[in-house]
């Protein structure tokens, strides 16, 4: 009987203790989140947000919805690459990407329950009355359908874990159809999130308002998906390395290089179509203003620079540069969505009427992200996401 170490005295250092620093921080966020949730539903939106009649959409839409949906795009991008474009080398990246996507969309729906005035009425557009002239109707329908698609795409992992072989085999058979459907739905709702703002040209600064917004949103969603997959795999390697099997570890550099290459190209293409949009609307003179300078920061710092850095990383076969650029690009997506939803929106209003989030809004956004991370951790530590389940090794 040997003493296996110092586990009795300081529980914080024990391998089996729940109270790791991460867990403690996460726990605090959860507690604050629950308190704010109660406040939101007992006192109303006005008590927990800085929303106003001029600013009906804040960071719960700007971040949780717009950024969340963009960053969850890795699911369709990766499945499309592997199953439609036949890039079998990235196969091991599919399940993590699909999981990220599924959790991302699920949390978007959760966040929506906070923002919308009567969340129990969210099904109304489908079952009570359809506002088919609305872009938001199309966003809602596509997101709802796509969430189901993602769930089905994720289900094989869960079913394998639960040992339900027949159900799991059926789910796997649907892969191609689901992937195609997923790309269609993603194209529609990613672009439509941008199209939401088409209806308010008088409120969005001319440098960001363009009839090409839907295309911009769609293209950046691909960039976001590619970068997010790299970013998430970087973090997962750090914290879940022991859960990864040989295939996963072996394919990862290929995924990083391949996605980095794709991202570089698409970022370059995005830069070009943004310039075309600028030229088409003859908005050059705005570049000399304050907003123009900020626009250049977004374009040069968060589009041109990552395009270049990805290319450098791929050429030098330097995974570190690619990973760093991926993180930077994810930040760039946040900047872009924030610009359109919060910063360049209502640019014409005086300072006193502009919006800055309440700390409780930030708390809920943090809460939602934390829940996502915790569920992600729960799933990857138990279900065959980073490894192939021994019973099904040869069956895809």
């Amino acid at each position: 009987m040997t003493d296996s170490g110092n586990h009795a005295e300081n529980s914080g250092n024990s391998e089996n203790s729940v109270l790791t620093p991460f867990n403690m921080v996460a726990g605090m966020i959860l507690i604050v989140g629950i308190v704010v949730t109660i406040l939101r539903f007992t006192k109303g939106l006005g008590s927990v947000t800085n929303l106003s009649d001029y600013n009906p959409w804040g960071i719960w839409i700007g971040f949780d919805l717009l950024v969340g949906v963009a960053l969850a795009a890795g699911g369709y991008v990766t499945s499309a690459a592997v199953y439609i474009f036949g890039m079998k080398r990235y196969h091991s990246a599919v399940r993590p990407a699909v999981l990220t996507g599924f959790l991302g969309y699920a949390l978007v729906v959760v966040a929506l329950h906070y923002d919308v005035g009567r969340p129990w009425r969210l099904p109304y557009p489908f079952i009570i009355q359809q506002g088919t002239t609305s872009v938001l109707f199309e966003v809602g329908a596509c997101v709802a359908l796509y969430l189901s698609v993602l769930f089905l795409e994720y289900s094989p992992a869960a079913l394998e874990w639960l040992g339900l072989k027949r159900a799991r085999n059926l789910a796997v058979k649907l892969t191609l159809v689901l992937t195609i459907f997923g790309v269609v739905l993603s194209t529609l709702h990613q672009s439509s999130l941008g199209a939401l703002f088409l209806i308010a040209p008088s409120k969005l600064h001319p440098l960001w308002y363009s009839s090409y917004i839907p295309i911009y949103f769609f293209v950046t969603s691909i960039i976001a998906g590619l970068s997010m997959v790299i970013f998430e795999s970087t973090l997962s390697h750090r914290y879940f390395h022991d859960k990864m099997d040989a295939t996963h570890l072996e394919e990862n550099p290929h995924v990083t290089l391949g996605f980095g290459k794709a991202a570089s190209l698409i970022l370059a293409g995005y830069f070009i179509i943004k310039v075309i949009g600028l030229a088409a609307d003859n908005n050059w003179h705005y570049l000399g203003t304050g907003y123009g300078a900020w626009y250049l920061v977004e374009m040069l710092g968060f589009v041109a620079l990552p395009a270049l850095m990805y290319a450098v990383g791929v050429r030098e076969k330097n995974l570190g540069i690619i990973r760093g650029t991926a993180a930077w690009t994810v930040l760039g997506i946040v900047v872009n969505r924030f610009n359109i939803g919060l910063i360049a929106f209502n640019y014409h209003l005086p300072k006193s009427e502009r919006y800055f989030p309440h700390w409780m809004e930030i708390a809920i956004s943090l809460f939602v992200v934390t829940v996502g991370v915790l569920v992600f951790r729960f799933i990857v530590t138990r279900m065959p996401i980073f490894y192939e389940h021994p019973d099904y090794e040869d069956s895809h």
Binding site: G290, W294, V297, G324, P350, K351
Partner: protein, 535 residues
């Protein structure tokens, strides 16, 4: 990551964040329409001299002339510090007599302005800018309140006196054959007949002509220690300074061989509609002498030359008159040169506007006002009449006019009128009718125009008792104005709106501030819910 890359990446990241914050700060600093003090000044000049060479590369420079001349005056310097002399007259251009090449003109400004500013600054005095963007700034914080200036009869007479009746001092004409300026007695006219807004060939622009002529002369007088007119911008163009210019109440008539009375006629030149010289319209007896006083100058009516209107403005329209027909020239209500137009302008005076503001702009076709001007001239008075006979006839008509200076007798008019038709929340209004009528009449005393056109004692009453013939017993307002307006009678408000619009517009137009339109108790007796205003 590769060795040594981390600090570089972090450094780059921080750099961009810093940049973003720096630049982004401007973004959130959205216009609170930051209106820093914008000063109103009458001496604002926009220096765009380079404009003669093509489109400007930089915004025009906002230049405050009087500020500079005041500073120079304090330093004991005069206009010649900046304005070169050319044959006894100062050039209005800065430091040059003419516009040479691009470089010369630019240097003229840059070298001289900046040098002066620098030397003053070196001497410890507050001075002007020495860098590009401060001068060439399109967002200058000044607003020009320069008032246009012109000669009127009073000022003109003061000049006549000071120049000893020597008209040739100022008046000249350009003789094309001789190619120079000459003076022809009896043909003096307004400067504006030749000097227009912009320089046209040899005719300087009005601004340059006035500045050269007037200011130079004034300067010479001042140099000889005589009293003279202003020599700087503010003296003529500032509203306050303009008000201080001495105005003579009485002065001799400006003699220029003009008629006292005219029987205005308009004739057809062509034979298309019958015999040449057929009378086209009823002739208008016109009191030219009286009208000379009404505008304070001749050029308002005689806008192109000092001859009869009908010379250029014919019935059909002619090139000389810019194809403005005589009918338009006399009746165009939007013009300040036409008879009707000028009369309409006079109606905007607060004394008149109370009633006239409410009346539609377009005079209706069957108004009785036409007869006030157009006289019934007999068959004999056609073209065969010579000018003297015509003048006599005109005088006859003018003498026989009977201006109406009164209204109905007081005994015919109610002292007070109680308006209590549809009392609901507010009490009745007891209108001091007699007082209002008396006040209006007092204001109209001595007004020739009103007396002439208010041709009936009841015309004045029609200011309020409108859309019905003048009468001692006009119909009740409620006869035509129903409870609420309806689009069936567009333009006719309901009774509440009718009263309030009528009363409020009159009060506002006449500048009556004693009665606040939002203070109901000022007019209404306290009714069941009469609420006094808390403003």
């Amino acid at each position: 990551m590769e060795k040594g890359a981390t600090p570089k990446v972090v450094g780059g990241f921080l750099l961009i964040v810093a940049l973003a914050l720096l630049l982004g700060n401007q973004v959130l600093d959205v216009s609170d329409a930051a209106v820093a003090e914008i000063q109103p000044r009458a001496d604002v000049l926009a220096i765009d001299a380079m404009g003669v060479f093509g489109p400007l590369e930089r915004p025009p420079v906002t230049f405050l002339h009087s500020r500079h001349s005041e500073v120079l005056a304090k330093a004991g310097k005069d206009c010649q510090t900046c304005h070169l002399k050319e044959k006894d007259r100062l050039s209005m251009r800065y430091m040059r007599l003419s516009d040479g090449s691009r470089q010369e003109v630019m240097d003229a400004y840059h070298t001289n302005c900046i040098h002066c500013h620098q030397s003053m600054a070196a001497g410890g005095q507050a001075s002007g800018p020495t860098t590009c963007n401060v001068c060439h700034d399109s967002n200058s914080m000044v607003r020009s309140v320069r008032q246009p200036f012109g000669m009127d009869l009073s000022l003109h007479y003061r000049h006549i006196k000071s120049q000893g009746q020597k008209c040739e001092t100022c008046h000249h004409q350009y003789d094309r054959e001789q190619g120079k300026l000459v003076y022809v007695k009896g043909q003096e006219g307004s400067c504006r007949y030749c000097h227009k807004e912009v320089t046209e060939g040899k005719a300087l622009s009005l601004r340059e002509a006035f500045h050269q002529a007037c200011i130079s002369c004034h300067q010479q007088a001042v140099a000889q220690h005589k009293t003279a007119g202003p020599v700087d911008c503010l003296g003529c163009h500032e509203a306050g300074a303009q008000a201080e210019i001495a105005r003579l109440d009485e002065f001799p008539r400006l003699e220029r061989n003009q008629p006292d009375v005219v029987l205005v006629k308009a004739t057809l030149k062509t034979t298309a509609f019958g015999n040449p010289g057929t009378m086209a319209t009823k002739r208008v007896p016109f009191n030219h002498k009286a009208h000379e006083q009404y505008n304070g100058n001749c050029r308002t009516c005689h806008h192109a030359d000092l001859t009869a209107c009908v010379n250029c403005h014919t019935v059909e329209g002619s090139p000389a008159g810019n194809f403005v027909r005589i009918e338009q020239a006399m009746h165009q209500i939007t013009s300040d040169k036409s008879c009707v137009g000028c009369h309409a302008e006079k109606q905007a005076d607060p004394k008149c506007a109370g009633c006239h503001d409410l009346m539609p702009y377009q005079p209706s076709a069957e108004t009785a006002a036409c007869k006030q001007c157009h006289a019934e001239v007999g068959q004999g008075a056609r073209d065969s009449m010579d000018p003297e006979q015509a003048a006599q006839l005109a005088q006859y008509f003018l003498d026989s006019r009977q201006p109406v200076k009164t209204t109905y007798f007081d005994s015919d008019l109610p002292e007070k009128v109680t308006i209590n038709g549809i009392q609901k929340e507010y009490g009745a209004v007891i209108l001091p009718h007699a007082r209002i009528v008396k006040s209006l009449m007092d204001q109209l005393a001595g007004n020739q125009l009103a007396a002439h056109f208010h041709s009936d004692p009841g015309t004045l009453c029609q200011g309020c008792h409108h859309n019905s013939p003048p009468s001692k017993k006009p119909p009740l307002c409620i006869s035509c104005h129903g409870a609420a307006s309806s689009t069936h009678h567009p333009g006719r408000p309901g009774i509440t709106g009718a009263y309030h619009q009528q009363c409020n517009t009159c009060h506002q137009a006449m500048g009556i501030t004693k009665v606040d339109s939002r203070d109901c108790s000022a007019c209404h007796q306290s009714g069941q819910d009469a609420k006094p205003s808390s403003s």
